[in-house]
Amino acid sequence: MHEAKNSLGIILFPAFDWSISPTHPEREERLLYTQDQLMEEGLFDIEGVDEHKPGVATREDVERAHFCFPEVEAVATRSHLVAAGGTITAADLVMTGRHKRAFALVRPPGHHAMKVVHGSRGFCSINTEAVMIEHLREKYGVKRIAVVDTDCHHGDGTQDIYWHDPDVLFISLHQDGRTLYPGTGFPTDCGGPGALGRTINIPLPPGTGDEGYLMVMQRIVLPILRDFNPELVINSAGQDNHFTDPITNMNLTAQGYAHMTELLAPDIAVLEGGYAIQGALPYVNLGIALSLAGLDYSGVREPAYDAVKHGQRPQLAEYIERLCDTIPDVYFHPPKEPADGFVSGDWFVRHKNIYYDTDGITEAQTEELYLCGACRGLLKIISRTTKNPACLGIEIPLHACDACRSLGYSIYEEAQVKEGFRYAQFINRRDKEYVRHGF
């Protein structure tokens, strides 16, 4: 019997009793065939590969990453809390040294969930990676983290949460926003004033195959990672860039995925999207798991694969090469000013309109960051939606300076007395204080 080179912990939580609706892509059946494949392959009998039970994320775990309006329980179902809890378990397995790497095969996904959550968008309500990252910081004091999002859709939620955070490098590879939901993720979007170049967007043309993805890995992602030198690399391992995916247009194969994973060598991988549940997921997940464990994945091949049909068109290579020439500059020579937002007094202000496609909610949001020289700065968000009237979120960041801390308290108190916010959430990361108001 063979043995894993890298010991690997897998959290397989298929949530066999949860769906968005009976025929929705995000339904009970989604990980059924993946589980069948992993079981039939005897993956968990391999020395060094173990399956673990997911934990359940608490309200506090979620509030470290999100402002939830009206409250966590209203936007997150139990399945969301288990998916987030499963990623936390994955992080614990790695941090405690139980395993070298971990793979959280959980659903529903999370990378479209932004800092403010009123409901579900892009099938996501709770950003599982963000919940995990904030857990890593809180519990283990991990500072520098890189998130590489290989889901076919732009990871706009993760981008939003870490927009102002220079210690979290967010790199998203996705099908060009001009051709796919959510329609964002262009190279010019590269982070807030204090974190320019710490958000890297790589929009790829429809039809990109193994060749293109591997080129981007080698020429953009890996050099940036080497320079950033994070303590942990997290892969948001969406699998909807597979050539059989019903809602996207890419040409990646199971072999390509496994190879990409080998290059990236993430400490923790978290499943995101991927809806070709029969023809792709069983093989892609197997490929990723074997690759993470350092095992031979050369035999993993989806039945529908056709080398000619699923190859990458030659013209695309040229286009992608141009991306490879220009995008590293976003990290190595970021612009002086952010593309979006403006400075007003001591505050940096962004206006955002956000549509929650899954729940049909429209949100108008004003995000203000206090431009503090001493710490990351107090965050204040005012949000109005078709579902909830005016909501206020205040966050005193981890390692906040005394000034930002007292400013946070005074704004929150003032808001309770004067302004007409229906719901307010106050998060003090420095003193671990989580308060809600307005019920």
Binding site: P14, P22, E29, D36, E40, G42, P282, D296, G299
Partner: protein, 577 residues
């Protein structure tokens, strides 16, 4: 009258009993070179007081298959393997005559690549040229669709039917081993089933002949399995691999026969070399999620969840720094057993746990004086007071047993679950009682009670609990049903039953079919199975959706006959009532 024989590593135990109690019990030394002789000797001993015509049933637990594997007296097997895409089959090469064939079935049971029959024919030819007579055919996802395995079966001339090129003595098709998904385990299980087939069948025939000679030809013979059940000898002849490692199960079932267990409990069988730990949930023994390992190979053979640790009555005492430990190595029998009364101690005598128990006064087994002297000598060697050494050793043994039990419990409580319901409603196993058996059971009772802080019971007849368990264990059976209503197919791999079902086929239909097929199969084999003991252990139905439309249901059902005993002996005394 029920007969039970447990051929163990050291002793062969036999009992004859009825609801009135134990009518006869025999203990003989096991002759590993000739297990049949041990069985015959035990039978003869029983028949001294029991009339052959009163005996209705014989249940036999034997180490035969295990020994054959350990001693390497198995025969060469031709393995025909169809791995399809995924982890390659070269990783699992179990034997010399191992052939990987092109072909593939996917997780839904669709044929995604045809079986290369030409390659199969030349593989078979190569095996036959070397004189290989038994074959295992195993494909990935054959439990979803057995097409390729069946084709290989036909090429080989199954069930000994002669084919043009000479036929085969025995063929195991992977899907017959049950519906569980795990290709490497299916491979290993098929291999071992073939490898011990001839040895087991020769033994089965010899036992049947002995029974006829002893006037027991009318007796129904069952074989014990590791899952706490029995199956008829006729079936064991086809699935000998299931008879492996039945020893611990015999003991666990013995406890069920001797005590009325109704809640979460811990069972400790303290033997000479090892202590077997089992856990009961709501009075039911737990079955291992995965099958047992044979050698280093995980298999599909179901077993009761039993954890063995290297601590027993004959485990030697160690002193490391100031810490006293017991086991895990065994250095021969205890001084109490090995030193004749009045004789001096051998040089460098090493006391064991039994000697320590003799010294603390917990028991008076064999030569108590030798134990005391041995302990005093060993204590002096390490500058400890003998009574401290004895007490610490007993404490260390119960501590180690306690720790292993806690580990087993947390493993049970941490097992992965797949639905939110299971996760949030997950009930934790919290034992309220400890049952002790095996040689040093009575002597260890107080130490165990103190460490576990639980009500501790040592049942009557605990010294032959294994044979009692063997005698009274009921038949068990289990099967998996898989249905795909988009394809209109229902398949029960273990029974090789495949039929067409309408699109309206539901989870309820599947549950009913699974139960009926299981009970029907048992009655075909002449086994009476009470419907009350049959249970559905897993039932799921998934809507399959394609392009926003529901195309069918993917249904999986598992059912089993619960492990149990024919009747319970509680309250009877040694002589019966």
């Amino acid at each position: 009258m029920y007969l039970g024989i447990d051929v163990g590593g050291t002793h062969t135990d036999a009992v004859a009993l009825s609801e009135a109690g134990i009518a006869a019990q025999v203990k003989v030394k096991t002759d590993h070179a000739d297990l049949l002789a041990s069985v015959n000797q035990a039978l003869a001993g029983i028949l001294k007081t029991v009339s052959p015509k009163d005996v209705r049933q014989l249940n036999l637990s034997t180490t035969l298959s295990t020994n054959a594997i350990v001693q390497g007296t198995t025969e060469d097997v031709g393995m025909l393997v169809i791995p399809g895409p995924g982890i390659g089959a070269d990783e699992f090469m179990l034997c010399r005559d191992y052939f990987v064939l092109p072909g593939a079935i996917d997780h839904r049971g669709s044929e995604t690549d045809r079986l290369d029959e030409g390659a199969a024919r030349s593989a078979i030819e190569a095996c036959r040229a070397k004189g290989v007579r038994v074959f295992g055919c195993v494909g990935k996802f054959s439990t979803r669709n057995p097409l390729h395995e069946n084709t290989l079966g036909q090429l080989l001339g199954q069930k000994g039917a002669p084919t043009a090129d000479g036929g085969s003595d025995f063929v195991t098709l992977g899907h017959e081993l049950g519906g569980r998904l795990n290709f490497p385990r299916r491979l290993a299980t098929a291999y071992f089933n073939c490898a011990v087939w001839r040895v087991f069948n020769a033994f089965a025939s010899a036992v049947e002949k002995s029974l006829a000679d002893l006037g027991l030809a009318h007796v129904r013979v069952n074989t014990l399995k590791a899952d706490g059940g029995t199956f008829p000898l006729a079936q064991a002849r086809r699935m000998p691999v299931q008879s492996i490692f039945s020893g611990p199960a015999a003991s666990v079932m013995g406890i069920i026969a001797l005590c009325d267990i109704t809640r979460d409990s811990v069972i400790l069988d303290i033997g000479g070399t090892t202590t077997d730990i089992a856990v009961f949930v709501d009075g039911q023994p737990l079955v291992e999620n995965d099958g047992i390992h044979i050698g280093s190979h995980p298999t599909l053979v179901r077993a009761l969840k039993v954890r063995s640790i290297g601590i027993g009555g004959d485990s030697a005492l160690n002193v490391l720094a100031d810490a006293v430990r017991v086991g895990p190595n065994r250095l021969g029998p205890s001084l109490a057993d090995s030193v004749p009364a009045g004789a001096g101690l051998p040089a460098g005598a090493r006391p064991t746990l039994i000697d320590a128990l003799n010294a603390t006064g917990a028991c008076s087994h064999g030569n108590v004086d030798a134990s005391r002297r041995g302990l005093a000598e060993f204590a002096a060697l390490h500058s400890i007071r003998p009574e401290v050494l004895a007490a610490s050793a007993v404490e260390a043994a119960s501590e180690a047993i306690y720790k292993a039990t806690q580990e087993l419990l947390s493993e049970i409580n941490d097992k992965p679950v797949y639905t939110i319901h299971e996760l949030l409603e997950g009930r934790r196993v919290a034992p309220g009682r400890v049952y002790l058996m095996g040689g040093p059971a009575s002597a260890m009772k107080e130490a165990v009670r103190q460490r576990f802080e639980l009500f501790t019971v040592v049942p009557e007849h605990f010294e032959v609990a294994n044979a009692i368990g063997a005698a009274l264990t009921r038949n068990t059976a289990s099967l998996e049903l898989f249905a795909d209503t988009e394809r209109g197919v229902m398949f029960i791999p273990a029974l090789r039953h495949r039929e067409n079902v309408p699109r309206t086929y539901s989870l309820e239909d599947a549950k009913r079919d699974a139960m009926n097929h299981m009970l029907g199969h048992l009655s075909e084999m002449g086994v009476f199975a009470d419907r009350d003991n049959a249970q559905i252990t897993h039932a799921t139905s998934f809507n399959m959706v394609d392009e926003g439309r529901t195309t069918g249901r993917n249904i999986r059902v598992k059912c089993q006959i619960k492990p149990g005993v024919a009747f319970v002996l509680t309250g009877t005394s040694a002589g019966g009532r």
